[in-house]
């Protein structure tokens, strides 16, 4: 990774009174795969559309490769058609009146390239995306996955340095989604373009990205590597968005941690949080990071057992607080109503918010 390639500085976008994107600054390196993750309406798509040039900026500046593309200060906007990006949309957006070949060749024809070069580049893009068999076919005779391949081929045809992907896999079924993830990654290795990837699926972001930006209501929550996002979420929002989670209200008494109001269940096997004066806190943990033990631990009662295929999902009541635990099937299976103990492995502390 070399110098910053795509740079957003204090980018702000308002729709009426709503601040869709609030002072967003990111620097994306050449060849990086950068994901923007968040629930719908968090501003991730708006950000991508500002980079693409479909939306103007209320404040801030966007530059690519050192050249300014959009700037609210300078009142300068390079129109989308001049930005030389590749872009793939959620709804495929392949043109139904053109066959596969002509869909892919379109951006090259617009650039008035020599015939032979158009032919060669189109064939190559079609081959790389596995569409050689159906070059003469019209899109409506093809499946969703194939349509998205056309969109990909069309985007890579001009050899872009930046590829914008707007939830490109959300309209595909789960199996195909996984397959396409790898294909996108392979294409990136082959062509070396920078990817800006918008998704609301955390697994997809984890699998593809070098770095992830988690957004909520227009604000940056965290920008980090997938590993850090998962293991060191900056706040409760990121923690809960990135995977299944327990948020347990706890209180500290006599140098021990108890689940709030459940002193009878016994203390938790966790270290005290560093330098805190708060007596009440939130303990965050993932269902997989809790062990169920027969003796000791925090005592509770199994309320419900659900089989989820490879995994068994337990709901354990500690007094009136519900704790969710997931374990692999091989472990011993508890029955509903059984008493058990809980042992906490990896935990994080967050402030108690009333």
């Amino acid at each position: 990774m070399t110098m910053s390639h795509v740079k957003l500085q204090d980018v702000t976008k308002r729709f009426g009174p709503v601040v869709a994107v609030n002072r967003l600054s990111i620097e994306i390196s050449q060849g990086e795969c950068f994901s923007m993750l968040g629930p719908s309406g968090c501003g991730k798509t708006t950000t991508l559309r500002m980079v693409a040039g479909f939306e103007d900026l209320d404040e801030g500046e966007i530059s690519v490769g050192g050249k300014i593309f959009s700037s609210s200060f300078k009142k300068y906007y390079l129109p989308p058609e001049k930005r030389d990006f590749g872009m793939v949309f959620q709804a495929f957006a392949v043109w139904p009146h053109l066959n596969v070949y002509n869909n892919v060749a379109f951006p090259l024809q617009i650039r008035k390239m020599p015939k032979a070069e158009i032919e060669e580049r189109t064939r190559r893009a079609i081959t790389y995306t596995g569409l050689s068999e159906c070059a003469e076919t019209y899109p409506n005779e093809l499946s969703g996955g194939q349509k998205q391949r056309i969109a990909l081929a069309r985007a890579i045809a001009i050899n872009p340095t930046v590829m914008l992907l707007d939830e490109p896999l959300s309209n595909l079924d789960p199996k195909l989604r996984e397959e396409m993830r790898f294909e996108i990654k392979d294409l990136q290795r082959k062509f070396g373009f920078t990817i800006l990837y918008v998704t609301h699926d955390q697994a997809e972001a984890m699998a593809l990205s070098d770095r992830i930006l988690v957004m909520s209501e227009g604000n940056v929550q965290q920008i980090d590597t997938p590993l850090n996002i998962y293991h060191k979420p900056a706040n409760k929002f990121v923690f809960s968005f990135i995977g299944l989670s327990n948020f347990l209200p706890v209180e500290i008494a006599d140098s021990a941690v108890y689940i709030e109001g459940q002193h009878d269940a016994g203390p938790l096997n966790v270290e005290l949080p560093p330098r805190t004066l708060e007596r009440r806190l939130i303990l965050a943990t993932r269902p997989f990071e809790i062990d169920i033990i027969r003796e000791g631990g925090v005592r509770g009662t199994v309320k419900r057992v659900t089989y989820l295929g490879d995994v068994i999902d337990y709901r354990v009541m500690v007094g009136n607080v519900e704790v969710r635990i997931q374990k692999n099937r091989i472990k011993e299976i508890l029955r509903e109503g059984q008493r058990c103990g809980l042992k906490f492995n990896r935990i994080l502390w967050y402030e108690h918010q009333p």
């Binding site: 693409a52 479909f54 129109p79 989308p80 058609e81 001049k82 930005r83 030389d84 990006f85 590749g86 872009m87 949309f89 959620q90 709804a91 957006a93 392949v94 043109w95 139904p96 009146h97 379109f106 951006p107 617009i110 650039r111 019209y138 899109p139 409506n140 005779e141 969109a151 069309r154 001009i158 914008l164």
Partner: protein, 564 residues
Amino acid sequence: MIRKLFGNFGIAEILLAVSVLILVIVVAVPVLLILWTALFVDGSLNTRDILKVLSQPETYEALKNSLIIAAGVTFFSTIIGVFFAWLVSRTDLPLKETMKVLFLVPFMLPSFIGALAWKMLLSPRAGYINKYLSDLFGLDGSLFNIYSLSGIIAVETMYLFPFVFIQVAGALERMDPTLEESARISGAGLLTITRKITLPLMTPSIAAGALLVALYSLAHFGVPAILGTERGIYNIPTKIYEQIYQSGGSFVAIRTGTILSSILVIAAGLILYIQNLVLKAGRFQVIAGKSMRPLLLKLRGLKIPLLLFSILYIFITVILPTVTIFLVGSLKTYGVSFTLENMSLTNLKYILFQWKMTKDAIWNSLYLSLGAAFVTMIVGTLISYTIVKIKVRGRFILEFLGLLPFSVPGTVIAIGVILMWSGKFGINLYNTAWIIFIAYIARYMAFSLKSNSAALEQVSDSLEEAARACGATHWQSLKDIVIPLIKPGMVAAFFLIFLPALRELTTSILLYGPTTRTIGVAIYALNEDGETVYAATLASVALVIIIVGQLAIKRITRSRIKGI
């Protein structure tokens, strides 16, 4: 399926039979009678008469005019409709929403009243605009002659272009904006996108609208009757009328009419067939995606000029003719200038309260259109229900019969009901209001079927099944679930029939008797007799009823949306 729903009573079959029977009697038999009468005399093939009619120069003159008018109107309506649809949905034109509504207003105005107004404005000698311009430039002759093929084409285009406008504006709104955005990011500018992506994707909608215009203008009576016959310009419908009118309704004339009608039926069938082909070309289907704001062309310096152009267009095609009708309608005599002392409400008082002919016409139109709207709404619901909801064998016959009313021109329906209800089959309704009533039902059944089918398709089968599962009988589930849900569709159907029926001309003109003139017929007759002022007064009354009716529809549909 049927057995499960209805036990062994076969209510489904009974419903099917009743629906088929109504459609057969009202629509199918009259059309078949026309073809039969055209082809056979006393049971043998009647080639001699057919050839005679077809070889008459006036026949192919009329056919030629029909084709020229249809081609011209379709061409210009398509250009104007596509342009304005694009303007309101793909540019940053100010007041877009208002303009969108205004462009649909010409739909509501009866085109023959428009023709009447344009005759007053642009007739060669007496037209107000022509007179004004001649005085202004000191010319001897007149600048415009509305009594011409181009005049007819211009006036019809004004009132038919919304067919294209509605189709294309709707399609542009439904179109997935990312189809255009992906072309943009591919490097194409807005003009290239419009040419290479948007317009090709709009082709089916444009074609559908254009074919509707072709269908209507080919068989249109009102405008050519008012602007053409004066100078001997006939199209097929006006030729049919002239033949029958001149002979006082003789059977020979009617048979000539059937031969000409057959040409119309064949042409209409051909147009519908092409339309079907266009719509079936599935690869053009444009799926709507995430509803993002579409790309808008920034008009910049052209913003205000184009807005003014649109307003001017509305002013010329809607406001100018409407105001002309109202003004001329209140003049003491035709031709005097529009000063206050030349105007009064005496005409209005006279035609509303004193003159029996106009009083009768208003009354006839009111009860005929209300009655026909009500009956057609009910029957249409029944037939639509059978088509959409009951999976009974033989349903396809009904579907085919249901398509017929869409394609049969008003003139043809009139000839058909004359053949059917003039005593040939034991019932003679000729010269009574009943024959007009039946013709209206046939003419407007299509509207009722369309509106009711659309409403019924919105009601999922499972809603009715849920009611049955809760223990409701079939009748109860209809009464308590289905009918309340489709009521808006039924009300819409009622008004869709009532308002056009109120000012109907094409069918009524061939069917009216001494005491059964309708508003349309009366306006036409007054105009023919040179009573231009009274024609305008009566037309103003019709316009007022139409405007009030349209406002009522707006009110009803709006409160319905609030209610949900």
